[in-house]
């Protein structure tokens, strides 16, 4: 505990000692110092510093050199770099000063715990100056008497130190004050130098680490002068139109130096300078006449100077001055050409003369007018017509022939040589051959092969071919000894030019040879628009229009057609550029195709819009090949079916709608005693032999009933029979006895046979009982029998004949009977009608029996039987029932007047013309 208090007291004492020592010796007095004090060190060198403690501190604070700690910017220097020289001196060594940071401090560790700074220094690190190199000087004249000299040099590497450069100069016998650069370290200007005495110049660089001097430069300043350029330049026109005289003032005394000059000049608007030969201006002067200039041309002049012997520097070019040469007469005649158009009169030409305005260097002044002389070479008189025009063209209407045209240009000074153009009656001379073009250096070169004859000159005529503008002719002349030239005009790229070359001879002219050319080609601006002309199953005919010349941008070398399906690969076909149609083949049927077309020039192609089309599902004739056989087959099948039906009609009838024989037409009627003779009909006898009757009903006929059949009633039937033999086509109206029969079934002999056949099948006939209607006494009663005797068609036919014959009285009679019946009865089944028959009155039945007998007797049966049967069947099939109803209605109306006359014959049966007739 006590020792601890001692430590604290000792430390406080030490601090008090240090502080009191510092204060007692002055404002600040430290316990030591560092040697060297703020040194400047070479970058990369080694450095050793010493910290020396004051003896007084040793006495008061018990501090020694072994307690010293070195720091660089608060960073402790490793102990390995320390060395205790004695009890008051400690050293630190740095092998490389580049890593040395400021400040470097010497510190003491009092009693091993409290660190106290003793002293600190700032170390400056840098490099000594390098020897300045590349020293050079120039004397720039700034006024007539002021010649400052500026010297520049390379100061060398950065030194990181404050380095002073001095430009030193001296005469051998006299020193001058140094030139100290301002703000820079690589140049200095000496305000005034004296010529003709050698001056020694050098540069001295100095900093804290050393001094360096450049190699001395010994020179006479007069040898490095850059004089001021001559001034007050003036240009005056001379007497000659090709001369301009320049005058100027020199700004350097001849006593200082003799000068030589450069004179340059150019035409206003031209960028290229021309120069007067230097040897012509190599001597001191203040004026010069420039020769060889163009008349009436504005020139720009400029001049510079330097020391006559060429030692030194050229001055800057002087300010530019312009001057214009005087006019001279035109040096040549204007180039002339013509175009000839047919006039309204075939004997005249419209000659359009055109000539080019002379270039300024040819006109040599302002062209006031042109004198055009046209002389006919054809006529003997050879009179010349003169025209004075201010324009560069003249249109004349001349008779056909050969002419010589002369054009002369006039300016203020004089006239040009004449330009002559021979216009022959025809271009009969040899033309040039092999006209060709070649783009070159942004211009279009035209070449040709000269004809064998001597050519005076050539005229190259060209125009821009465009859809939007006319072909405006431009032209140029070329001498006869050339076979190629560049077109002198504004030839645009991507435009088509039609170029024609005419050879002009002394006595005529050759026809023009033309060629089309492009200065530069490009891809077409658009592609062809393709569309289909015709689309088939596997092919499509594509058609397109040629691109216009404005769209081509070059020669169309080829077309390429690209086509593809929706999911297929694209196929390309190359097409000749002359074509406008192409047929795509091997396409897939019923497929959507997309087609586009590209037009190619030498520079590439461009595609037109897409076009889609769908190939057809069937090829040409395929549908016909399918449909026609199918139709034929169908018709054949129908026909066969029809034939089959006819062949099997009986069978069909039997199974589907068996014929129910009409009892009223039964042969049993023939048994009636009133008509015994009818049964003598031979055919019936054959057809129905007596032996075939297996069952015969007994018919009781009252004698009174015979009265109901008067002779008058029977007469019409006789007439009918007669007519039947001659007119078989008349409808009987009774054919409807069969269920298959149409009401309008035509009755013929064949029906009879058919009926005969059909009724050959076993049909149970009911017994016919003649009974009175509604309690009236029946005339005749038929009872259905079990007989299989066929229903005789002859009976039906007889009825038909009655209905269709001319015996209207008879027919009307029967119609009256059915007039009040519902027409729908015709559709009733056969058995219903049979019941109606039962209610028929006796008189009617008797009459009907007569009718059948007469019909039978009048109808021959034989070879026509089958044929008529078929016809009747066809009629059944084809005739519509509605038609029959219509006719029937009319018939009913027509018979209304007979009701009163024959009320007894009215029967509730279906009545229709040609239909089932009631009994």
């Amino acid at each position: 505990m006590f020792s601890g208090w001692n430590w604290v007291a000792h430390g406080l004492y030490l601090l008090w000692s240090i502080c009191s020592l510092g204060v007692s010796g002055g404002l600040v007095q430290s316990c030591g110092h560092i040697i060297p004090e703020s040194p400047v060190l070479t970058l990369g060198s080694s450095f050793t510093a010493l910290c020396i403690l004051n003896e007084s501190c040793l006495d008061f604070g018990n501090i020694y050199a072994n307690q010293i700690i070195w720091k660089t910017k608060n960073r402790v220097v490793p102990k390995e770099q320390y060395r205790e020289i004695n009890r008051t001196v400690s050293s630190v060594t740095f092998n490389d000063t580049s890593s040395l940071a400021n400040p470097l401090t010497c510190n003491i560790l009092a009693d091993g715990q409290i660190e106290q700074n003793i002293y600190g220094i700032t170390v400056t690190v840098g490099l000594p100056p390098e020897k300045p190199k590349n020293l050079s000087c120039i004397v720039r004249q700034v006024s007539k008497l002021a010649y400052p000299m500026t010297c520049t040099w390379n100061p060398g590497r950065p030194t990181f130190l404050d380095t002073h450069f001095r430009l030193k100069y001296r005469w051998p016998q006299e020193n001058f004050p140094d030139c100290i650069p301002k703000d820079v370290n690589n140049s200095c200007m000496i305000t005034d130098v004296q010529f003709f005495v050698n001056l020694e110049v050098w540069v001295e660089a100095e900093n804290a680490l050393g001094k360096a001097e450049s190699d001395p430069l010994v020179l006479d300043p007069i040898e490095i002068v850059k004089p001021l350029s001559p001034h007050n330049l003036s240009v005056n026109s001379g007497i000659l139109p090709t001369v301009l005289k320049l005058s100027w003032e020199n700004r350097i005394s001849v006593a200082v130096m003799k000068l030589k000059f450069n004179i340059r000049y150019r035409i206003v608007g031209d960028t290229n300078w021309m120069q007067v030969p230097p040897e012509d201006t190599a001597s001191p002067r203040t004026s010069f006449s420039v020769q060889g200039l163009r008349p009436y041309t504005e020139y720009v002049f400029s001049i510079r100077c330097m020391k006559e012997d060429g030692v030194g520097y050229w001055s800057d070019w002087s300010e530019e001055k312009t001057g214009v040469t005087t006019e001279d007469k035109p040096s040549k005649g204007p180039p002339i050409w013509r175009s000839i158009a047919a006039s309204h009169s075939p004997a005249f030409w419209t000659v359009h003369l055109m000539w080019k305005a002379l270039e300024p260097f040819e006109a040599n002044g302002v062209i006031l007018q042109y004198e055009v002389t046209v002389r006919s070479k054809s006529s003997l008189s050879s009179l010349a017509e003169k025209y004075h025009v201010n324009t560069t063209n003249l249109t004349l209407k001349l008779p056909n022939g050969t002419y010589e045209v002369t054009v002369i240009a006039h300016n203020r000074v004089g006239a040009s040589p004449p330009s002559v153009l021979l216009i022959p009656a025809s271009n009969s001379k040899a033309p040039v051959k092999s006209v060709r073009t070649l783009p070159k250096d942004g211009k279009l070169w035209v070449g040709w092969t000269a004809p064998n004859s001597y050519v005076l000159k050539y005229v190259i005529e060209w125009c821009l071919v465009s859809n939007s503008s006319d072909c405006i002719i431009e032209w140029q002349n070329e001498p006869g000894n050339v076979q190629g030239t560049y077109l002198k005009g504004d030839i645009k790229p991507f435009k088509c030019y039609l170029i024609t070359v005419y050879p002009l001879y002394a006595d005529g002219q050759g026809s023009g040879q033309s060629v089309k050319a492009y200065l530069q080609q490009d891809r077409p601006s658009k592609g062809p628009t393709v569309q289909t002309k015709k689309v088939g199953k596997a092919e499509a005919v594509l058609t397109w229009n040629h691109l216009t010349v404005d769209e081509q941008n070059g020669f169309i070398r080829s077309y390429t057609i690209f086509y593809k399906t929706v999911d297929g690969n694209e196929t390309a076909v190359t097409v000749d550029p002359s074509k406008t149609e192409y047929t795509l083949s091997s396409l897939t049927s019923d497929t959507l195709y997309t087609v586009r077309m590209m037009a190619y020039t030498d520079e590439g192609g461009r595609s037109g819009p897409d076009f889609t089309f769908t190939t057809q599902k069937f090829g040409k004739g395929e549908i016909e090949a399918i449909v026609v056989p199918v139709c034929l087959a169908f018709l054949l099948i129908v026909l066969l079916g029809v034939l089959f039906c006819f062949n099997k009609r009986d069978l069909i009838k039997k199974h589907i709608w068996p014929i129910v024989p009409d009892p009223s037409k039964s042969n049993i009627a023939q048994w009636s005693p009133q008509v015994p003779a009818k049964h003598n009909f031979s055919s019936k006898d054959q057809m129905y032999p007596e032996g075939s009757f297996t069952d015969v009903s007994v018919v009781e006929i009252e004698a009174d009933d015979k009265k109901s059949f008067s002779e008058q009633d029977l007469k019409p039937f006789d007439l009918l029979k007669k007519e039947k033999s001659t007119s078989e086509g008349h409808s009987s109206g009774i054919g409807g006895s069969s269920c298959m029969s149409s009401p309008r079934q035509s009755v013929s002999d064949s029906d009879e046979g058919e009926t005969t056949q059909n009724t050959s099948s076993t049909v149970q006939y009911s017994t016919v009982v003649l009974n009175g209607y509604r309690d009236q006494t029946p005339v005749q009663v038929f009872s259905r029998s079990e007989s299989t005797q066929p229903l005789l068609d002859s009976e039906e036919r007889s009825e038909d004949q009655v209905g269709g014959g001319d015996s209207t009285t008879q027919r009307q009679h029967y119609f009256k009977q059915n007039g009040g019946q519902d027409e729908t009865n015709t559709d009733r089944p056969c058995f219903e009608r049979t019941k109606q028959i039962i209610h028929a009155n006796e008189g009617d039945l008797a009459g009907f029996a007569q009718l059948q007998i007469s019909g039978q007797s009048s109808q021959p049966l034989g070879l026509e039987l089958e044929k008529n049967t078929q016809e009747a069947a066809l009629s059944d099939v084809l005739q519509a029932s509605t038609e029959g109803q219509t006719v029937r209605s009319e018939t009913v109306e027509g018979n209304t007047m007979l009701v009163d006359e024959m009320p007894k014959s009215y029967l509730p049966q279906t009545v229709r013309q040609g239909g089932y007739m009631p009994q």
Binding site: P172, V197, A255
Partner: protein
């Protein structure tokens, strides 16, 4: 070795003569310009007659063409040493009189002084090449001007400049004469002509 030295000495002499001639020409030109400025600035009459300047040998000399080269050089050297002292005195007086107000005149005087000094160097070098060496500058001091009035100083200054202009002409001729190949010299090089 001796021949080489002779050749080198001849080239050196030739170069010194050539540039001396051109320097004399420029000096004359500048002095003439300075004379105009001086007359104007000092308010003098350009036609004022001035007596010969004390201490300056007269430029005009009889039997000039009979003089030897060394004699010419010595006379020139004496004259230009005197001009150098007089011009330095004039420059000092001008600065005292006008201060920095007329810097252009001071610069022109300083420039002429430099040229005189440079020409003096040329002459000394030529004399060295003559194996004679330049004489000492004792006695070249200009007479004190303290006793002169301001106007007299101005007139003296005018006289100095006029005499210098004349000496420039004579020096040119002297150097041309010197530049001509001497009978005993192997160097036959023709010197550059005067400007």
């Amino acid at each position: 070795m001796a021949a080489a030295d002779n050749t080198s000495a001849a080239l050196r002499r030739r170069d010194l003569c050539s540039r001396g001639i051109r320097l004399a020409g420029k000096m004359r030109s500048d002095v003439i310009d300075l004379l105009d400025t001086y007359v104007e600035r000092q308010g003098l009459d350009a036609s004022a007659s001035v007596a010969s300047v004390e201490g300056v040998p007269a430029a005009a000399v009889e039997r000039w063409d009979e003089q030897t080269g060394t004699q010419r050089l010595l006379e020139n050297l004496a004259a230009y040493r005197a001009f150098r002292a007089l011009l330095a005195q004039m420059l000092e007086e001008q600065q005292e009189q006008l201060g920095e107000a007329d810097a252009a005149l001071g610069r022109a005087l300083a420039a002429v002084l430099l040229q005189v000094s440079a020409f003096t160097y040329h002459l000394e070098e030529l004399l060295r090449l003559e194996s004679r060496g330049p004489p000492s500058e004792e006695g070249a001091e200009p007479p004190p001007a303290a006793h002169l009035s301001l106007f007299e100083r101005k007139l003296r200054g005018l006289g100095v400049l006029r005499e210098l202009a004349q000496w420039a002409v004579r020096s040119t001729r002297d150097l041309r004469q010197l530049a001509k190949p001497s009978p005993g010299s192997s160097s036959a090089a023709s010197l550059a002509e005067s400007p």
